[in-house]
């Protein structure tokens, strides 16, 4: 089994348990403990920010300032302008490609 398949199966199992816990186990009337509830709501901001930062600034466990950063800046501007997701992504790719072509 490749590492990707192992990851896929384990992540699918764990994710399913998280998804199904509410409808199958907790039922309609129960609530999560307050600490867990707050963690579930706040955790994605921390992790997504970590993913943004590392996918833009880190390459092969080293800091790397390259054309991806220009794409990210363009994406931020597009999001700020409330452009649709598809436009955000296309602009980010185009800006990065343009920066590489100039280089």
């Amino acid at each position: 089994m490749t590492p990707a398949t192992a990851t896929l199966l384990l992540l699918a199992l764990g994710t399913y348990l998280l998804k199904a816990a509410g409808p199958l186990v907790l039922g309609g009337e129960r609530k999560l403990p307050p600490l867990l509830e707050r963690l579930t709501l706040l955790m994605p901001a921390a992790l997504l920010a970590g993913l943004v930062a590392t996918s833009a600034l880190v390459d092969d466990q080293r800091w790397s300032l390259d054309a991806r950063l220009i794409g990210l800046a363009v994406a931020a501007t597009a999001l700020w302008q409330r452009l649709p997701f598809i436009v955000v992504v296309i602009l980010a790719a185009a800006a990065t490609a343009a920066a590489r072509a100039i280089n």
Binding site: P44, A53, S55, V58, A92, A93
Partner: protein, 262 residues
């Protein structure tokens, strides 16, 4: 959310059916570029198209899929990839609690319906007041996204997956930080989450040269400590705030702060 939508297309204001369908359709279409990007990212990380589609079918959770595949692509371990994905999916637990009353039914039915528990289905559902329309919205958005998410993953994995040169020249690799930023964006409206995001980004970048691939993402999760979530006064989060769809499909139905997630 419903009240701010134009209701002129509805046959009657009592039946939110057409509103639900409009939301479900636009949100399903909005995930397709993400699905293509995921297929491409999978190819870059060395996954086969079967594995890429396997993620989209069996895991069916956008940001966690991206995170896990990203960690694998950097050379991270299976454990790190799985834990990063699961931490991102902790919110499914909260969605499940919110959705449980509307998903009443036989055990096998609840077990099946749970697989569709994603940001989009929960968002469309919780925009409704009545349980039966919540259920309708959940299924419409969940099934719509499921079909298009898998189709677009297949497209991305089979068309663009392998060719590194093409990906670099077209800047497709830059779509991944852009996609994560788009997911994060609506959460930045909340000052608490803005600080958490800033601290998380710093932790991840500073620790990246020191930790094995993937672990910096998990370390970024420690940033939630900033909000001191163990204190009851930190509980200013309204569950409804984070279950809005975070794709900017249509700026008009925004209830206030821009929202949308996958």
């Amino acid at each position: 959310m419903t009240s701010s939508l134009p209701l002129s297309e509805s046959p009657s204001p009592d039946s939110p059916r057409s509103t639900i369908w409009r939301q479900a359709t636009s949100i399903s279409l909005a995930v397709t570029p993400f699905g293509v990007a995921f297929g491409v990212a999978s190819g870059q990380a060395g996954l086969s198209w079967v594995e890429a589609v396997g993620f989209s079918t069996l895991v069916f959770s956008g940001s966690a899929q991206f995170a896990a595949v990203g960690v694998l692509g950097e050379g991270g371990s299976v454990a790190t990839a799985v834990i990063s994905g699961l931490l991102l999916n902790l919110r499914s637990l909260a969605f499940g609690v919110v959705m449980a009353p509307a998903l009443n039914g036989p055990r096998w039915w609840r077990a099946l319906a749970a697989q569709l528990m994603i940001d989009e289905s929960t968002a469309v559902a919780t925009a409704q007041r009545e349980r039966r329309w919540q259920r309708y919205g959940y299924l419409a958005a969940g099934l719509g996204v499921f079909v298009l998410w898998n189709a677009s993953t297949l497209l991305g994995a089979s068309l663009l997956g392998g060719s590194d040169d093409l990906i670099e020249a077209t800047g497709i690799d830059a779509t991944i930080p852009a996609a994560f930023l788009a997911l994060l964006w609506p959460r930045l409206q909340d000052p608490v989450q803005r600080v958490i995001a800033g601290v998380g980004a710093v932790i991840a970048v500073v620790s990246a040269p020191l930790l094995p691939p993937g672990l910096p993402i998990i370390a970024a999760g420690l940033a939630v400590a900033i909000a001191r979530p163990w204190r009851s006064s930190a509980g200013t989060v309204d569950p409804n705030e984070t279950v809005e769809p975070n794709l900017n499909v249509d700026p008009k139905p925004d209830p206030g702060p821009a929202e949308a997630d996958r």
